[in-house]
Structure formats: structure tokens, C-alpha cells
Symmetry: C2
Subunit: 231 residues, 2 copies
């Protein structure tokens, strides 16, 4: 445990972006707290990798929050087995992998946790650049939620602000990777593939974006892929 | 199941206010859907009474959402056994029964559910009048959250608005009781006491407010109290 009293809650999914946020929050000197959501994703690999990333950063506390709710209400290819995960993305539409109000719920829980531990910062790796199909990844959503959280919580009424930081929101995946490598983010511990297997498929939307990011950043992705030809 | 296609999600706690919201939403002609949160309250009586109220209104669907998270993070007398529930309220302070970001999380989940079932209305029984100590019961919080939800969800981007309605926000408890009795709300099925026993204590903040409301409305509260002298 570090002596620094400045605390941050990092929303840690186990993916590349949230791991980069851990690196950024560490560099900013925060005492790190991680919050991971187990929301009935099709695979539990994300949560397992999040634990490894949290351990790497020696976080002060790591909360794994079970939100079965998402699976119960369905409505997304990520949580409803009746909806297929698309192989290729359609840039004009909101993707089938959109989970209703996911970031709103995740960040609301992070705000509750931040209130209890008296954290002044919440970090989330949302990006509005490479993949803008998700409504809850846009800067205007984050700005509005910051305002709402300030009105909703005791801490803020007492004059101590909690702020959501989105350091990647204007970065391409390549920019994120470049920044993360400079911060020595352990990308080998991250997972992105929608299939959630040990070897990434290299073909789903998420793999495609990740591989493009590493390629444009001029480095090799350290995780293993099923088909090495895709890299 | 009613044929009306206009759908509403009512946040149903099992208390007097949310039951009144059920009566209001029914009168407005909505196909009723209820969502109840089991969040590690000290007693499960609230959830049981919510089930009875939902059955009374023959709701199309009733979701009981388990959010153990609140108990895990603590920080409230309602979810943390190390913090006492106060006997008497202090009008100047945020009460110990405040649960961090509770309404923000509840309403975010309600918004996700509304998105999946295509509901245009969310009803919540928050009131800013009798008991204004909770930051997340204020009109400015609800207005801001409505804006945030519109930015966060697919449904709203597609031009179909979902709106949070707070019909009791400017009503005193007496006004609420008067309105509810006119709508034949089954108050005998509701529970308010923080102790959550079959017989209400009649002394905690919540009982005090409830009894005052019925008294000012000029009617007898139909639920049983431990000490009949308090009524």
C-alpha cells in the first residue's frame, strides 16, 4: 500500500483500454482501486485477466461486482445467447454488442465505491474514436454523467468533487497502444476477443481493432492468436 | 396482460411512495413493469411486500435485481451493520441511512430495463419535500439523469425518448397518502419501518414520516404497529 492519499477507482475490464488507464492513474500518483464487473459476459476470461492486471499494479483493493441483471434482461449479443456476436462491424449502426446502459451502470457503481472510499478520480477507458457506435462512449455522455454524479452524491455536496476521467476518449487504438507501451502497461495480461478463449480469434470486431492498433503503433501484440497469419 | 402498448417501468421498493407510483402509472394507462432491488437491506421484508404490490397490480413483468454490491461497499446504516440506524432524524445533515449513489444506480438499471422492453416511462417515488436530506432525491438530480440517460441509450439516439417521472417529488407525505387513497393504492401491503418487522416500530424516521402523513391526510394507516399508542 502506497502512502499517497490521493485515491482513484479504475473501471477495469481486463481489456487493453482499461489496463492502459491503470498505467495512467499509476503515473498520476493515485492510490489505485479497481472495480470489475462480472455481468454475465459469455466468458469469464475478462474477469480473470482483470485480476491479474490488478495484481500487477498492486492495487489497494479490487472489487469484483456481480451484475447478473444484464444477463437477465438480455438485449445484447454479449449477454444474450440468442443474439449472435457479429463477425464484422457496421460503422453506421449501433453494434449488436451494445449492452443497454452498461457504462451508465458501471460508472454509477464506480461513483458509489468512490464515495465510500473517498476517491477523487474515476478512470474509464472509453474511446469515442475507433469505435463510435456505442452511445455511452461519447464525451457528451461522460460530461453529463459527471454533472449527474455531482448532484447525486454526499461527497460532492460536501464540496469534494469526484471526477470521471477518460484519458483515451480522443485517442485511436494506435495512440492508446503507443501511450501504454511507454507506461509499461502489461498488455500480455489483457484480453479483447469476444470469444474469450486462450487464443484470440483475430477476426471479431474487437480483435480487428486491437490488431490494427498494434500494427499502426508499429509493435507486435504480445497475446497469442489462433491463426498467426492474421497478425 | 393489458393490450395497451404504452409501457412503464416502476421502481418498486415495497414502500408507500413507490406503491403510490404504481397507482399513478396504472391510471395513466401504462402496461406496468416493476423493478425491485434486493441490495442487502437489513431485512427482506421490502422485497416480499414489493412482490405482493406487483401481484395486486397484475404487472406484466417484475424484475428482482440483486445488487449485493451495496452491502459489500458499505457506507450506509441500511446496508452496513456497523452503522446504527438513527432513531431520530437530523434535518440539517445527510442521514446515516443514505446509501451511496443508490438512486443513480437504481434508475440506471431501470433505464437499461426500459431500453430492452422499449418502455417510454420510468416512475420513481422520490420526494424532495418531507425528507430532503438525500442528495439523490432532488429535482435537479432527476433532470440531470434524464439528460444523461438520453445520451447513454440506443433507444433515445433512435429518437424515442425514455423519461423518468417523479410524480411525488413536490408532494408532502400527506399529499401522497391523499392521492394514493383516491387511486385505491393498497397501502396495507406496503412497509416503511427501517426495522422491517411484521409490526412497525412507529419510532424510526421512516415510521415517523409515514404516521405524520396519514395523520395529516386524516386517515388511519392500515399497517400494524408494535405500540398502538404512537398512532
Amino acid at each position: 500500500m502506497k502512502k499517497n492519499e490521493k485515491k482513484a477507482v479504475v473501471v477495469l475490464s481486463g481489456g487493453l483500454d482499461s489496463a492502459t488507464c491503470m498505467g495512467i492513474a499509476e503515473k498520476e500518483g493515485y492510490m489505485l482501486h479497481a472495480i470489475t464487473f462480472d455481468y454475465g459476459q459469455r466468458h469469464s476470461r475478462e474477469v480473470e485477466q482483470a485480476k491479474k492486471i490488478a495484481a500487477h499494479y498492486q492495487v489497494h483493493d479490487h472489487r469484483i461486482v456481480n451484475i447478473e441483471f444484464f444477463k437477465e434482461i438480455g438485449g445484447s449479443a454479449l449477454t444474450d445467447e440468442h443474439i449472435d456476436v457479429p463477425k464484422k462491424m457496421n460503422q453506421d449502426a449501433i453494434p449488436a454488442t451494445y449492452v443497454p446502459a452498461r457504462n451508465l451502470i458501471f460508472l454509477s457503481c464506480a461513483a458509489a465505491y468512490a464515495e465510500v472510499i473517498k476517491a477523487e478520480a474515476i478512470y474509464t477507458g472509453v474511446s469515442g474514436v475507433d469505435y463510435s457506435g456505442y452511445p455511452d462512449c461519447r464525451p457528451e455522455f461522460i460530461d453529463s454523467l459527471n454533472h449527474t454524479i455531482r448532484l447525486a452524491t454526499k461527497r460532492n455536496i460536501e464540496g469534494k468533487k469526484t471526477n470521471i476521467y477518460t484519458p483515451l476518449i480522443n485517442l485511436s487504438k494506435a495512440d492508446t497502444v503507443t501511450l501504454g507501451l511507454r507506461l509499461h502497461v502489461p498488455y500480455e495480461l489483457t484480453t479483447s476477443c469476444y470469444n474469450g478463449e486462450e487464443y484470440a480469434c483475430g477476426e471479431c470486431d474487437s480483435c480487428t481493432l486491437r490488431l490494427k492498433g498494434f500494427k499502426e503503433a508499429g509493435c507486435k501484440d504480445p497475446i497469442p492468436y489462433k491463426n498467426t497469419q492474421v497478425i
